[in-house]
Amino acid sequence: MSSIKWYSGLINEPLTAALKPALPMLAIGTLAAALSGLTKLGALWCLVQVIDDQSVTWIIGVGALLLASAILSSAASWSTHKAEAGFAARLRRQVAKHLIRLPASTLTRWDDKKLRSLLSNDVLSLHHLVAHLPAEIVTFAIVPLVSIAFLVAISGLQALLVLTPGAVAALYYLWFMPKISARHGEQRAKVMSEIVTAVDEYVRGIRASRIYGAQSGALASYHSATDRFTHGMITWVRKVATAAAVAVSLLQAVATFAIAYAITYQQGTAAIAAGLFFGLAIVTPSLRLGHGLDYVSAGRNAARHLTDFFREPPLPSANARVPESRVLLEAKAVTLTAGEQFVVERTDYRFSPGTMTVISGPSGAGKTTLLRALAGLEQTLSGSMRLAGVDLVMLNEEARHQTIRLLPQGSSALLTSVRENLTLADPEQADEKLEAALRQARLEVDLDAHAGNLSGGEMQRLGLARMFLTSAPVLLLDEPTSALDPDTTKHIIKSLQLLAHSQGKTIVIVSHDPVCAAEADVHLQMQRNTLRVPE
């Protein structure tokens, strides 16, 4: 199949893995589509014979071939779509798997809109390219060629004039339209994504937008994005509308029929019949082109986005494992940066099991980055973070997650039940255990309650309950009490400390809350790119 080579130009390497298993089914579908087109032409040939000699045999031929064509086109549709669905499913999972393994600093560079569209629009954009393009190319090449042969055989070379309207329309779709709309298409796609971003930001930041008035902020950018979209569309449509409308009208059978009749009316009924029926041979595939070739460039762009995304290196991991309790977490000559800024430089520190360490420091010093690096979610510039003597990057990723748990800053919960929020890591946890963890986090809430109804402080305690629930020996908490009152804070910090002491857990908390610092076994300050005990 010649189109495969062209394909690999469109769809780059990481995607071919997802595409390869789909190829046999895709080939079957394409073959069925081609055969469907040919059997239909056979039926038309029989029909011309019917008009010539009015025999029953030929009319049976017409019926049988049209039935075969219908079966084949149905089979083609089914198998190409099945092949494509498999491809999309594999691709979607590859994207998600890669996404979940990217360092936090990489995610900062990719905005949500791009990430979301990788998982939805970009995968959908490839649908046409994979499911429809092969069949369309084959149909567009084979069906017209065979019908031109029939046409010339019956009415001679001058019959080729019948093909003029279809050919002109095809020229429009294949040459004029792509040329004109290439620039506009890109512009439109840009404005389109601006609209989606504008809506997203507007809806998410609705409170801020409301308070600061409709004329500023996201609604204004929404209105300007949509105005630009409409404006751009109208300008573009004005440019192409007349040519497009002419192409549409040429594709109506009226045009072809008029020419066919003008050429063949003196050649007898069979010749007129052939002119009329086969003359539409180029029109039918051109009609499909009329649905647009935009999807080819859309698919190409999607493939490019996906390739860029797959090029982002994931967090390294290997196969080392570590003991499941009382593990030492240490920074060895670690240099760590956040953007251009140094967080720590050549710093050594050992976080011992059975100890609760609280790290404080001025805002923007890079506390969150440090904690992420300790969790193995951010790479160090030099030196290494080690767990029980093993470099974090050498660990098996699941083992790393079983050993280290990070509670990220801020409070958020999945919009589902409290129970599902607690059992993300282990769906089999018994309710009694979950309730005990909630009690330790001082959160009185029903397991079946919807987590979306919780207040900020309650969501934060839901996150803390997860930390009480896990058996991981290393717990890292980023500003875990920012939304809690001092009483609750004190109680929870005490509980965490008890956990460190009684079960030998290594607990590191980043917090600027003096209540936390006061309870710490060790209190560290981030200062001048290193960790030190405050005087």
Binding site: D112, I211, S216, A258, S363, H401
Partner: protein, 530 residues
């Protein structure tokens, strides 16, 4: 867009403006004329074949039909573009009106699907959908008359029966597609929602569930979606088969009828077969467009649901009052589930502290004071005027607000602050940013105040995001400043610094905090939840 055009548009009942409606009607009429001219051209051709006419009349009638097609198609393309503009504007205004409690995760995902796919899809209504809906069904009806003219009443009746059968089969196929398609639409929405969940909670999911289990929830959704898609594919393949049969039936049926009844005039035979082929052709088109039209109908339904999102009642022009001053008061306000008979008095210049255990409704009370929703019972007034009697723009002009989770937009530091005062100069922006101790952030990049803050502020720390939101609130210079845990991520010294700035403000400050209450020197305090 200024406030008056916003209001004008918001009072409009239908999302389609009168201009759009008239344009759509004119184009509908155009498609009917095109159908009539096209049917005439085919019938002229058929009669010419039977009577061996020279091609002049055939070519002329074809040229007229084509000219009309060009005109109507062109107008259709243009009004499609205008229509999408109208719909986007209506969506933007509906979102601006909808009350804040409406913006749930589910609705957010629906809005995203509508803006990204639904509305661009509506653009094809005038040029394509109207053609399918008017031109396609009219052609067979008009060509039946042509069949009658060429072959007589009996053949016209046979052809009519065959076309009706073909239509019945198409109808069956289309109904099946519609049923399947509704499900596909639901699946798409669910997938969009769970994709959003994965992206929004990426950090939570990968930390809480780990690299393998994090994808379990979205995987579950995908599997449902893929099963549904496989079912849709099977249904679609059967529908494609039936529709292909339906397309062939009139031609094969009429040809067989004529041959078996001993018809032996080749010219007349060809003329009849040409007419029945053209009469049957649009039905295949109808079936193919079935999928698109079902999509469109579902999208229109979603569109109406979003456009009709609940809004808070606005006072009529006669009832509107201007607040006298900016004293804020609530009398015996109740709002389930947390607030019962709460009264608040914040005279001009007060520093009102709202305290209470977590979950006692502090944020809800603050939101009611800013009319994010109306309380179930009781009344809230600004300058002695009930909030419902004040134009929303006037109310908002009085208030600046920083919430628990500061909203930072993707853009630069300057962009984020400028939202508070659109015409502020760059120097003013930098001044206010340094005032709220963001100097170190400004100085760490050569771009200064123009440095990007990453996606939704992800390049900033929690404390920096809060101070940025605070800068935005301060530059607005509103008489009432509302701070809901707005300094929770700051270290103690920075928080003290900020409190000092806030204390110097001449206006009213309403704040929720649960630590260091004294640094704010409140003049009034309200206890919630006992």
């Amino acid at each position: 867009m200024n406030a008056s055009t916003l209001n004008e548009k918001s009072t409009r009942k239908s999302p389609f403006s009168r201009d759009s409606r008239n344009r759509v009607l004119a184009i509908s009429l155009g498609w009917i004329v095109v159908a009539a001219l096209e049917a005439t051209a085919y019938t002229t051709l058929a009669l010419a074949i039977v009577h061996h006419h020279p091609p002049v009349t055939v070519v002329t009638s074809a040229a007229i039909a084509m000219l009309m097609t060009v005109l109507v198609t062109r107008a259709g393309f243009l009004s499609g573009a205008r229509l999408s503009g109208d719909l986007y504007a209506a969506l933007g205004n509906a979102l601006a009106r909808a009350k804040l409690s409406w913006f749930s995760g589910e609705h957010q995902a629906e809005v995203m699907v509508l803006a990204g796919r639904g509305i661009p899809g509506f653009m094809s209504i005038p040029a394509h959908q109207l053609q399918s809906l008017l031109h396609a069904p009219l052609i067979p009806l008009l060509l039946l008359i042509g069949l009658g003219l060429v072959g007589g009443l009996e053949i016209m009746l046979v052809a009519g029966c065959l076309l009706a059968m073909s239509l019945g089969m198409q109808f069956f196929a289309q109904r099946a597609l519609k049923r399947i398609d509704i499900e596909r639409h639901t699946r798409d929405l669910n997938t969009a929602q769970s994709t959003q969940e994965l992206i929004d909670h990426l950090e939570l999911l990968r930390n809480a569930a780990g690299p393998v289990l994090a994808l379990k929830r979205i995987e579950c959704q995908w599997e449902h979606q893929e099963q549904a898609m496989a079912r849709i594919n099977r249904g679609a393949a059967i529908a494609v088969f039936i529709s292909a049969l339906a397309g062939a039936l009139p031609l094969v049926g009429l040809a067989s009828y004529l041959i078996f009844t001993g018809f032996n005039n080749p010219g007349q035979l060809l003329a009849l077969l040409v007419l029945i082929t053209r009469a049957a052709a649009p039905m295949e088109e109808l079936a193919l467009s079935g999928l698109v039209i079902n999509d469109l109908r579902a999208a229109l339904k979603d569109y109406h649901q979003i456009i009709d999102a609940p809004a808070l009642p606005e006072a009529g022009p006669d009832e509107v009052k201007q607040p006298e001053g900016y004293g804020l008061a609530a009398t015996q306000v109740s709002h389930s589930p947390m607030l019962h008979d709460i009264s608040v008095d914040a005279p001009e210049g007060a520093r009102l502290l709202i305290v209470g255990p977590t979950g006692s409704g502090k944020s809800t009370l603050i939101e009611l004071l800013m009319r994010f929703d109306d309380p179930e019972r009781g009344e809230i007034t600004l300058g002695k005027v009930p909030l419902a009697k004040i134009r929303y723009e006037d109310l908002m002009a009085h208030i600046a607000y920083v919430g628990q989770d500061p909203v930072i937009f993707t853009g630069t530091l300057a962009d984020n602050i400028r939202i508070g005062k659109p015409h502020a100069s760059d120097a003013d922006l930098e001044k206010i940013a340094r005032y709220v101790t963001l100097g170190s952030v400004i100085d760490r990049s050569p771009l200064g105040i123009e440095q990007p803050v990453g996606h939704q502020g992800s390049a900033l720390s929690g404390g920096e995001r809060q101070r940025l939101a605070l800068a935005r609130a301060l530059i607005k210079g509103a008489p009432i400043l509302v701070l809901d845990e707005a300094t929770s991520a700051l270290d103690q010294n920075t928080e003290k610094e900020i409190a000092k700035i806030i204390r110097r403000l001449p206006g009213t400050v309403i704040l929720v905090t649960h630590r260091n209450e004294t640094i704010w020197a409140p003049t009034h305090t309200i206890m919630l939840g006992g």
